[in-house]
Amino acid sequence: MSETIMLLCAIAGTYLWRALGVAFSARIEPDGALFRWVSCVSYAMLAALISRMTVLPLGSLAETPMSFRLGAMAVAIAVFLLARRGMFSGVIAGVGTFIALVAFA
């Protein structure tokens, strides 16, 4: 029961942001300065989130050494760039490195 309430609250708590975004977007012109500012905020938030998930993760990932996470991320980006923006190669290399480090190091 309480699990269902928690879920419904989490759904509502996430939807709130989505709905606010749509409500505000009505006043934004796609070729205006406001649009570029909001885009900058989006990129900054996404980067902050990715960086936080890597450097200071929650839960089980936090038990792995930070060097593993940062090292694997560096491998992923290096392979991505070397493979001319090969998304698939980058992800496989990064996650593979991470799993290998956790399993054998």
Partner: protein, 250 residues
Amino acid sequence: MGQPNHPPGGRMTARAVVRLGLRRGVGLPSVIVMTSMMGFGSLAADGGISFLTALSASALVWGLPGQVAMAELWAAGANLLTVVLAASLANARFMPMAMSLFPLMRGGTRHRGAPYLLVQLLSVNTWAACQEIFPAIPLHLRVVYYTAFASTILVAGQIGTGLGFFAVAFLPKPVTLGLIFLNPCYFALLFAGTRVRPYVAALLLGAFFGPIIYALAPEWSLLLTGFVAGSAAFFFFDVRPTSVSNAESK
């Protein structure tokens, strides 16, 4: 065939756009979302969350960082308010993401309320995919692409959550951890190819200050970092268009 080499407003049909959205969605994005959601599914199973709740979370919260926060804190026995606040704030990015995507899809829906329904499908993958392809798609068909692409990966997310939930018993620990690591890793690569100067600045500033601000104010850090780093990137690196046609309002 079907490549987006038509000029905007050209003879692209709705059917062609649906096909394009489905095909783009079915490839790597679906595989990634499926495996990331396997990570969530296994986390949920581990934390004693029921199968139905896990599936519903993937379909209706539809924001992995919020779902992970929810599963982890719930398993740790945190109280309801803490769990919900953390889940909600971890997904606060949807506000600026909607604000920077929906103006690009104007005119595609007849009903005024439709965007409030469509926004439920929004995720990082769809946002990035749409930002990339929208210039090649006529204005009134963009919402069609958005819906086709987003629906595809939503289905992939459901499959992944289900697989992860039951596979957790058979997966070795390093693999489960790898599945959870896959999400930030993929997101990082999704943006590693960004070339627009103010956006590159926003990404770098956000990545640098994100964890620092998180250490000071964990709950509000994403909103705070997004606002501060995003504004700094905009004010210091945005190049104002000089042409008169781009006259800025507001």
